[in-house]
Assembly symmetry: C2
Homo-oligomer: 452 residues x 2
């Protein structure tokens, strides 16, 4: 049952496409999971991929369409007539997938496609979902869910579920509503099966249901579902009306994306890029932070050139310029990333900002002392370039001060950004490295001047 995309497998498929063996290809495709088909399409040339994709029909075609990378899907749909998109793909999709796919297209194309959808209710639901910001609960939820009236019996319920559940892949929970469609509670299928069919729903449903407001951010959705171990989360409006539900598979993607976003920021990459993206998008994602780094380097050059006279007197100070800069950068990145990660995992904000700085200060003291001592011992023993004791003391003292400053900057700046409701991840990586580089140079030059 494991799918393995081997070189031989792809060669065989390519040969079948070349020979136009449509039936053999179909036999292969209809044995695969949509996610595997998407992987196969990705491995083929664009023309071969398209040929293969167009052999698919109905549910499978729409399931695969949802799985392929956004850029490819967009390119493919832009060439397709709106009517074909509506009738062959969108009509088969769940409302949340349909809204996601349509959301990638222009407003005119969206409207045109929706006008071709035969099922009016489906079209209305998709239109409503498209009206929500895609970064909110409303933008992630699906309209498909099973809702039962609190006044019903288990028997009515089961019958109604059979009817409603037709276009829903998985049920997970049944939502209990009142006659105004306000969410009252939930009921697991397990419970429905366990009770006699004459039992009233109102006697067995669970009232402490966890729900989320339609305007809540997607980070909030992910946090709630992760914290409470939920597989589905009902979405309500301000009056408590049940509007949709969010399933865990969509949230898994959000959790990964959020974690990757912080990682990318820390690495100085803007936006979501992969090895397989075009040279242009990779370059565009990387250049901005590199320019900032360049600017930092130029500032560094200005700092050193401003201390030219001092350096002429003690030229050997130069040897340790990279060491001071690199250590400042490393320490700063460590501190900032611990803060960013603690904030991202929703660590309680109760411990006051001063407590955090105090603690970081203690860690920095220990690190600074260890590193400075080690460097001092090394320099006194090996005396690089005959720099002498005085330089050894200057460098170690500077390192000590720089490590403490760098770690405090690394802690304080993201906390400060967070207070200002700016993404604290901005303060990691190249930003903090560059800042600490310059700070390190300044401190080193100042101490050099002072001690010599």
């Amino acid at each position: 049952m494991q799918f393995e995309l081997s070189k031989e497998y792809i060669d065989r498929v390519e040969q079948l496409i070349e020979d136009k063996k449509d039936q053999s290809l179909k036999d292969i495709l209809y044995d695969l999971h949509p996610a595997d088909i998407a992987e196969l399409l990705d491995a083929l040339s664009e023309d071969d991929g398209k040929y293969l994709y167009l052999l698919l029909e109905g549910d499978l075609a729409s399931d695969v369409l949802v799985e392929i990378p956004e850029d490819d899907r967009k390119r493919f749909l832009e060439e397709m007539p709106a009517e074909v998109i509506a009738r062959q793909y969108i009509e088969y999709m769940d409302t949340d997938d349909a809204a996601d796919v349509l959301g990638e297209l222009s407003d005119e194309k969206q409207e045109e496609i929706i006008s071709f959808i035969n099922d009016e209710e489906h079209a209305d639901e998709i239109t409503e979902l498209l009206s929500y910001d895609e970064d909110t609960a409303g933008g992630i939820m699906a309209a498909e869910l099973v809702a039962v009236d609190e006044k019903w019996s288990v028997q009515t319920c089961l019958k109604e579920i059979g009817r409603q559940a037709e276009d829903i892949d998985e049920i997970y929970y049944v939502y209990v509503i009142n006659n105004e469609r306000k969410l009252k509670g939930i009921l697991s299928l397990k419970k429905l099966i366990q009770y006699p069919t004459s039992t009233l729903i109102s006697n067995i449903y669970f009232k402490d249901v966890i729900s989320i407001h339609i305007d809540a951010s997607r980070e909030e959705v992910a946090r709630q579902m992760e914290k409470y171990d939920l597989v589905a989360l009902p979405v309500v409006d301000s009056e408590g009306h049940l509007k949709g539900r969010i399933t865990i598979d969509d949230v898994v993607d959000i959790i990964r994306e959020e974690a990757e976003k912080d990682y990318q920021m820390a690495s100085g990459i803007v936006g979501d890029v992969e090895l397989s993206d075009s040279i242009f998008s990779v370059t565009r994602a990387r250049l901005p932070w590199l320019f900032i780094g360049l600017l930092g380097g130029i500032l560094g050059a200005i700092v050193i050139s401003g201390n030219e006279k001092a350096l002429e007197k003690i030229p050997n100070m130069v040897f340790f310029i990279p060491l001071i800069g690199a250590m400042a950068g490393n320490v700063g990145v460590q501190s900032s990333s611990i803060v960013v990660q603690s904030l991202a995992s929703g660590a309680s904000n109760l411990q006051s900002i001063w407590m955090k700085l105090l603690k970081e200060f203690s860690v920095a003291l220990i690190a600074a002392f260890s590193l400075a001592s080690l460097l001092l011992i090394f320099n006194l023993f090996f005396n690089i370039g005959n720099s002498g004791q005085q330089l050894a003391y200057t460098v170690s003292f500077s390192l000590f001060i720089v490590v403490i400053f760098a770690s405090l900057f690394g802690t304080f700046i993201p906390l400060f950004l967070n207070k200002l409701k700016i993404d604290p991840a901005l303060a990691t990586g190249p930003f903090i490295t560059t800042l600490n580089d310059i700070m390190g140079l300044l401190v080193y030059m100042l101490i050099g001047k002072f001690l010599f």
Copy 2:
């Protein structure tokens, strides 16, 4: 229904604890979700937290125990008699949670606790789960699941589910097995409800079930569940016998941990640390990489001191030492993190290693050209420290070469580590920065000597 841990709320709880108002405290606790109680306990002092926790009983006590941080739980359980742990907590837990909690304790304590469990089947299942490596499917799975025989009817099935499901929170799927307990397929509850009770299971179950081998790594488990959008994944042994199932809530934690691990490595932090951890553990997690950085800095000092004579002739080259080092580091981190992330998200390995390097080379060329030109224009216009045209050309040419080398190192080294089955994330952050720092210095010095 939203739980908000305010300062006032905590103050009130602390007051009630001080006044020993046990009934009021219980009223508060029994209205909360276990995850919220764990959050509350975390915000209290250790003594208050323990007092509050001991007011809990049965299911709720064991649910909360699973939610609290590992260190706290370990400390708490070490003081508890084995019999109390077995009878008051472990007996109420699902097998996977029980195995996780016991796995944190010493082997002797584990055995002692298990010997006190009344339910022999439960004890055996836990013992079996404890025998699997915690980083494999066997170490994550729970023994609780609903399995039905392929020869049964829907009616027998529903009755059997009612019986088996008693100690299972959520069912999600019913697994269909043969008389040797080999996994044959799955059946959704929805389907069971939709068909007449006389229908035979063998006629309605889904045979293409996705399962995972008991020895598969937890990364593999996460990848499968994420790729195929599963909420539960059955675990089988080499003969195909159904051994347990893994649910999505456990995998969500794995996905987050994996993403965070890469982030931490890239930030030069060893292991999982948070702002709230002790000063000692934070220091221990950070010092190793800092020592490596220090070593790199010392090597850098040796490189510069080896070129002392050259620098005496062109002292202004010194100005741009930090710039070259920082840019080499920034570019290297970008390249390596794109590789690491692409590998982590399971990007297909089909595109050959040479194609990847070629592409990275193109991106590097564009970046190197832009950065070097910009720096040249800046230097020619502003002429920092009267360095003259010759230095301007030297610096820009060096930057050009250094950026290309740094990006190739950043791409090649993680790919190479991955080939060797070493975690490529090791090559991000401080490692690549340090390496590229030194490489940058060498290139700069060499070009300086050559051009002047």
